[in-house]
């Protein structure tokens, strides 16, 4: 999708590896949960979700539409949420972004960021109600966590765009 100006004839990675790379980066984002910190307040941004959204919005054919479900399952195994919550929420987000793509054909980065912000807020708020009883005092932390995650999205898109450029231009249709 993005053109490598330095060498237009660079074939990039072999197709199998180029296909696997987006999956691996999203799973690496989920694996950020194993950093050796025992957090008292849940502020750590869900990097798996951020990477998924970045791939979905920056390089839309890198991941299949159904990839959100298995990637969500992997995230559920690590994140501490009840199993199936990320699977459900990420799938719904992926489908919703597809609807946006049908309606809002010409988009720039700010609109992508807005869509991603909505998706992040939806996933985190819905995840909170799926996992934690309503009376728990986690809402202030949740708002901060949503803000941190939204602010991380541009960095994730830069990273994804860089990987996508390195990966080569063997585009495969959806």
């Amino acid at each position: 999708m993005t053109l490598d100006i330095s060498n237009p004839f660079d074939p990039g990675l072999p197709p199998a590896r180029a296909r696997a790379l987006p999956w691996l980066t999203v799973m690496a984002g989920s694996l950020l949960a194993i950093v050796p910190v025992v957090a008292i307040v849940p502020l750590q941004p869900p990097m798996g979700l951020v990477m998924l959204l970045a791939w979905r919005l920056v390089a839309r054919f890198a991941l299949r539409l159904w990839a959100a479900a298995p990637l969500g399952l992997f995230d559920d195994l690590l994140s501490g949420q009840p199993l199936g919550s990320a699977m459900l929420l990420w799938s719904l987000t992926s489908l919703a972004i597809d609807l946006f793509e049908h309606r809002l054909v010409f988009r720039d980065f700010w609109q992508d960021w807005l869509i991603a912000s909505g998706a992040i807020a939806f996933c985190l708020i819905a995840g909170r109600f799926l996992a934690v009883p309503v009376g728990a005092q986690v809402d202030a932390a949740l708002v901060i966590q949503i803000a941190i995650t939204i602010l991380l999205f541009p960095m994730a898109t830069r990273l994804v765009a860089w990987i996508d450029r390195k990966r080569g231009r063997n585009e495969v249709g959806a």
Binding site: A69, G80, M87
Partner: protein, 289 residues
């Protein structure tokens, strides 16, 4: 961004079916997610095997990171110790002289205590330690407060065991895998610990709030909970051994008050896994008809 031309499937049947199938699979993924969610809501330990097998892979990795972090952390401390060794020596000498007297008193009290207990014929159970291991990571992005312990079934850890640190209670084991176990921390919104006030033995429960503090709810009504009061486990329910420090009240309250737990699990210190204090009795075999 320009519209994606690749979205058009054209006249190719293969691409048309492929695009349709992608939507079907995406919706199917969401439906499977709902099914798994319902299953894990009604039976939380379901899929524990899957989770903890993965945990057994990640826990040693996190443990290695901890070791590296400790090594880096040690360097400035070693330098500091080198410069302050004399002042520290003097301070420790003074402390030793003080604590010698305290130790003598404590020994007398301990002896008295033992004697009086035998007189009363109290049947004491001492909780036995299963293993000492490290908490290596936690669920930092979820509202639930779980930590991963770097020891599992191979080390003898089983669900239902109590976990305590040097300063106080940490939580209990909810799931155990081959080499990792998941610990429900005290501050989790679904954690409840029976406690009592040290001053007069007032029974209460400590419920996690999810933001690093606890709610102490008195069992009796018309109680004043004052700032600074200490609560320890009461041993009710048989899971936690009595007299493990739990929390200190942070602000005055009535029947309910906010308390700060004694443990700071973010220091990644060692945790001691103990067998359930009074294990559940084995159910009697049902009589044959």
């Amino acid at each position: 961004m320009a519209p994606a031309r690749d979205r058009r499937t054209g006249f190719s049947r293969r691409r048309q079916y492929g695009a349709f199938l992608a939507y079907v699979l995406a919706v199917a993924g969401a439906v499977v997610g709902v099914v798994l969610l319902v299953a894990s809501t009604f039976n939380p330990p379901a899929f524990a095997g899957l989770r903890m097998t993965l945990g057994s892979v990640t826990a040693p990795v996190s443990g290695a990171f901890v070791a590296v972090g400790d090594a880096v952390d040690d360097i400035p401390q070693a330098i500091g110790r080198y410069f302050f060794v004399h002042s520290e020596n003097e301070r420790l000498r003074a402390e030793l002289a003080q604590s010698r007297q305290l130790l003598l008193t404590a020994r007398t009290i301990a002896y008295d205590n033992r004697r009086l207990r035998t007189l009363l014929a109290v049947r004491d159970r001492t909780p036995d330690t299963v293993v000492t291991a490290r908490l290596v990571s936690s669920t930092g992005s979820s509202g639930r407060r779980f930590a991963l312990l770097n020891a599992g079934r191979w080390q003898g850890v089983a669900p239902g065991m109590a976990v305590r640190g040097p300063e106080g209670l940490i939580g209990r084991v909810t799931e155990a895998g081959p080499a990792a176990a998941r610990v429900l921390l005290l501050t989790d919104p679904e954690s409840i610990v029976p406690v009592r006030r040290t001053r007069d033995g007032l029974p209460a429960i400590a419920v996690g709030r999810g933001d690093g503090t606890l709610d102490i709810r008195s069992v009796n009504t018309n109680v004043r909970l004052a700032k600074g009061e200490l609560f320890v486990t009461s041993g009710t329910g048989g899971l936690y051994a009595p007299d493990i420090p739990v929390a200190r009240i942070r602000a005055d309250g009535g029947d309910t008050a906010v308390a700060r737990p004694f443990i700071h699990p973010d220091t990644l210190d060692f945790a001691i896994v103990q067998r359930a204090f009074m294990p559940m009795p084995v159910s009697a075999p049902s009589p044959r008809p």
